[in-house]
């Protein structure tokens, strides 16, 4: 069993888009879901959000940033090569229906999972206001795609190299303040951005959802490693999520759990880089 990589391109520095042949997954995929892949026999199982899917062609698209050893390895793949395993679709699909106006906030590679949502919310008849951001304009991804999928698109960069000079949440606040009737805000990005964004939106009478990215092994509820506290209760991101009510998520715990293997990860990356330099890989 192997899954063919059909296309792989670097869409921003260290950010890659990969199209994988996985017909069973594509057929069942819905916005808000993710896959788990494994590069080879010795590889770890890593979860990646589905950034796009094509039911007819039988493909799923993932967008990832080089962070740890596995994503660095994944970045070296080219079209025609094979991944050992792709399993999915995992996670509960987003509850997409006609609500009125929906704000989608995507930060960094968090824009990738926001994209299928933008399409799905638009298709369901909503006015979709998308706000995407990155540290600088080079790191901004899916601008054209998001533009096509949304009624309005706003851009923010930390350094002001494009769009609003500041954070995506600044624009979100402006829209919420403008008197526009918003039914739901969906925030997807680094945990700190989601925490801050949730805090900014909290005082408004609006539903706020975040899509969490916990560490997990199997993705089916079996290991319980992805646990997160929501409304004082332990929930599993893989089956109960990945989307939760932002007001009720314990972000501090989430961020600490995400840091659990940081030491091991750093060592693995150093070892991998070392091996690459020595030409062993």
């Amino acid at each position: 069993m192997a899954y063919k990589v059909l296309n792989k391109e670097e869409i921003a520095p260290s950010v890659h888009r990969m199209v994988i042949d996985a017909p069973d997954v594509a057929k069942a995929a819905k916005a808000g879901q993710f896959i788990i892949l494994r590069i080879d026999e010795k590889g770890e199982r890593i979860p990646l959000t589905i950034a796009d899917f094509d039911k007819e062609k039988g493909t799923v698209t993932v967008i990832f940033q080089e962070m740890g050893k596995t994503t660095k390895q994944l970045a070296k793949f080219s079209a025609g090569e094979f991944l050992e395993d792709v399993v999915g679709p995992l996670g509960t699909p987003s509850d997409v229906r006609k609500l009125g106006t929906v704000i989608l906030v995507g930060g960094g590679v968090g824009v990738a999972p926001a994209y299928p949502q933008a399409k799905a919310y638009s298709k369901a008849g909503n006015k979709v206001i998308s706000i995407i951001g990155a540290r600088n304009k080079d790191l901004l991804i899916l601008e054209d795609e998001m533009k096509d999928a949304s009624s309005e698109l706003y851009i923010a960069t930390d350094d002001g190299s494009k769009g609003h000079h500041g954070f995506v949440t600044d624009i979100m606040k402006q829209i919420l303040d403008s008197g526009e009737e918003v039914a739901r805000v969906v925030i997807i990005g680094p945990p700190i951005m989601m925490k801050v964004g949730a805090g900014v939106a909290a005082p408004y009478d609006v539903e706020i959802l975040v899509s969490l990215n916990s560490i997990m092994v199997d993705g089916t509820g079996m290991c319980g490693g992805c646990r997160v506290t929501v409304d004082g209760k332990t929930r599993f991101t893989c089956v109960d999520g990945p989307e939760f009510d932002a007001r009720k998520v314990d972000f501090v715990q989430l961020m600490n759990r995400l840091a659990m293997y940081r030491g091991e990860e750093t060592k693995a990356v150093e070892k991998y880089d070392e091996e690459c330099r020595c030409g062993l890989h």
């Binding site: 494994r38 199982r45 596995t70 395993d85 092994v217 319980g224 490693g225 715990q253 693995a268």
Partner: protein, 469 residues
Amino acid sequence: MQELNGEKTVKAKKERTPMPEQPAEERRKNFNEVALGYTKEDALAEASRCLSCKEPKCVEGCPVNVDIPGFIKLVCEEDFAGAIEKIKGTNALPAICGRVCPQETQCEALCVLGKKGQPVAIGRLERFCADYERQQGVKVPEVPEPTGKKVAVVGSGPAGLTAAADLAKLGHKVTVFESLHKAGGVLSYGIPEFRLPKEIVRQEVEYIEKLGVEFKPNYIIGRIKTLDELCDEFDAVFMGTGAGLPNFMGIPGENFNGVYSANEFLTRVNLMKAYDPEYDTRVRLGRHVVVVGGGNVAMDSARSALRLGAEEVSIVYRRGEEEMPARREEIEHAKEEGITFRLLTNPVRILGDDKFNVTAVECIKMKLGEPDKSGRRSPVPVEGSEFTIPAEVVVIAIGTSPNPMIFKGSEGLDQNKKGTVVADEETGATSKCGVFAGGDVVTGAATVISAMGAGKKAAKAIDEYLKEQ
């Protein structure tokens, strides 16, 4: 040997042949198999103890009714090939059962010899026959003419594998769906290498593949397809999805870094080989490891932690050793290896530092009160007896529940309050037409062999159901 139990007065013949094992001092540092298996001489000596009872009780004690005296007789005659063939007539996974079945409470518990001395070591003989066959090269039986009927098996653990093998032998076309990347279920992710080498699981799966069974890994029923969709595509469905959802205690600090469910801990170690630096998956190591629970899974977790290099591993269990659900042999093995048993002790809180890393487990002493529903005396906290055990890693091994994912999009499948599927004990038939279930998804967490027994009964019932179609 641990089995002697002070039976010094019995005649030599009444003592079972000891199992060669890796010495405790060595094995606590490696993941190689603990029990090394009988030599031919050992097997012959042990087989000769069997009385070949006319009405063998042992067979009744076996959930899959292996012809025990029959295969032991063939061992005595040194016809090992014949012996394994006899076992395989009813048991598709003898190399696994010979290693992980709780024989002492099943076949061996009813052995006549056990009344006055020690029962025949049936499990060890079964393992010997299976290992002998694997060394010789496994013979694949002829598969009958295809019946043209298609059966879907959901889950490739012991229940699913058994049902698949039996159905394939009856000529049905079987497809097994597995959510993980490797077949075997708990045999692959749960039971450690030192108790059940993964190579054996692989070979057993390969054998079933040779019977014509198709395996679809990375395929999640409940996500890719619903149970209802499977029912439309297949003539019958067997659900052997097990009880994979880990239970937690619900105590403060349980989500600190370093607290694992036994499922996650064992999956990282067994399936993902975290003990091997060549593999990318990691598991947190600690000088002090606390494992909560008293079953085989707790023993497996504790012994794995020790092998990963922990200095002190404690098992914390709220009742006494008598009440521990783990196999005697596993408890003894754990003790020999140096695991600390803290009995009549229950965790009340997990303590951590400012980075959310576990530092200790606060426990309370327990005493035994009146018997509860399980018939065991229930543990009662002793007020004011709290104390802490230092720990960097805590493994919660207090049981599992069925995974609710399978039930998404399945109309008319009855479940009871615990989330298990309601199924007929004899046939595995559920409230949903053409859907049968067996193993942990019906009973809640139980043993490998009881799951196999359920898979077997269901296969027979499915065959009858298909004939009526």
